[in-house]
Symmetry: C2
Subunit: 250 residues, 2 copies
């Protein structure tokens, strides 16, 4: 089984490498947004197919491993987990690329103030990916559960940024288009955190044989908050009254 161990190691290495690529993609897409750096954003978009290609390589490696080694028990679960984890990482790559696309669109206009909240969200998402992939490689369920619990911080940042953006849109109709891009950028980063959470659940299940049971408090409540237009800014039309804030997680 010596050679089998080497193949499992190769699988882990590929997952680590894939994780490194998406961490960098998140970092660069957020920087491209802040520094209005179109070239950097285009670089992130160009790199995305590499991440997709790595997922296919991992799927191919897994298929070969299963066919040739016919592993059972823990080895089998470990190998199947890597398919799921690679799929989450691939989607994270898509989301980072979409942040880069929207950064390019946003950079056509003057910066809007709420952008300032994005880098902190990007850092949290990057750290979550790093930690959860380490948790997989180290088979550390505690580290996985910590990532799973920390996702609330990202949810909370998203919700407060959403409220800020909606208020900002109400103050100035010309900020509506750029702020709508920012709504989706924030949502993309929050969804990156959700994928890290999926990976944490996969690792927890792999190591302990069951999924995390403590219900993780979701940031959903913000779906029901009211965001009022600032005094005197709402034209007295008979149109739709103010609804609820658009925050809230998938």
């Amino acid at each position: 089984m010596r050679h089998f161990t080497v193949e499992l190691e190769e699988l882990n290495q590929k997952l680590l490498q894939m994780g490194g690529l998406v961490e960098s993609a998140i970092h660069r897409s957020v920087r491209a947004l802040l520094e209005q750096d179109r070239e950097l954003a285009e670089e992130v978009i160009r790199d995305e197919p590499k991440i997709n290609k790595m997922e296919m390589e991992i799927d191919g490696l897994v298929t070969r491993l299963l066919a040739l080694r016919q592993p059972v028990a823990r080895d089998l679960r470990d190998i199947l987990a890597s398919i799921k984890i690679a799929s989450d990482i691939e989607r994270i790559g898509d989301l980072a690329a979409n942040v880069a696309k929207r950064a390019i669109a946003l950079n056509q206009s003057a910066p809007v103030r709420p952008v300032a909240a994005v880098p902190r969200m990007g850092k949290l998402a990057q750290q979550a990916i790093k930690d959860v992939i380490d948790a997989y490689v180290e088979q550390d369920a505690q580290k996985a559960i910590a990532v799973w619990q920390r996702d609330d911080d990202l949810d909370d940042l998203t919700s407060s940024l959403f409220r800020e953006l909606l208020t900002y849109m109400m103050e100035d109709p010309r900020s509506i288009s750029p702020c709508a891009h920012l709504l989706f950028i924030a949502k993309n980063i929050e969804r990156i955190g959700d994928h890290a959470t999926n990976i944490a659940e996969t690792v927890h299940f792999l190591v302990l044989g069951y999924r995390p049971t403590t219900a993780r408090p979701k940031g959903d409540t913000s779906s029901y908050e009211v965001v009022e237009p600032p005094e005197g800014e709402a034209p007295a039309t008979g149109k739709a009254p103010l609804g609820k804030s658009a925050a809230g997680q998938d």
Copy 2:
């Protein structure tokens, strides 16, 4: 191998059942939105864990199948494909539940006009899921590629609804919160279509051994469109000028 065939059949049946559940979830969440039916929306949210549970059952069945039957070649690829497909269906269930959550928030306020475009998007998404799961069960690559190509229609509907929503938000600050919910509802339905596209690629690869090659034209261009506020509605402040439209796909 008679019994193995029965187990594969069971796997297909579970995927069909899961697909039926998310089709119904999409249908009901859109109806809940249109008819402002809070109970129906809550029903969709309550049903979501059933879909997650089915994914875990499929994973368990796959693990048993691989351990006991140690399939190779086409059988192995078929079984691995079902893990990926179940994961896409599970995410579709999350997205439908999020549409239902936002429907509840939206129903707190008077209906906004652009809601009218949503049912057509919901129908397209539902049909895509039905067709692509049939394509898997019938191992029909042509049917899969048709779903893959039709996703453009959903992308186009999303882009035009986005432009409509942004214009509507510019006309009336009080519509900004409900319209922001609608932006995300539209995005969720568009992402449901993307997951159907993922499944189509999985089926194509399974049946023909390679991924669809014709690059599917993405609706991305709309990320670069300008949406102007209507004449005389933009206060002459020194704030951020109008950016680009917020449409655009992951």
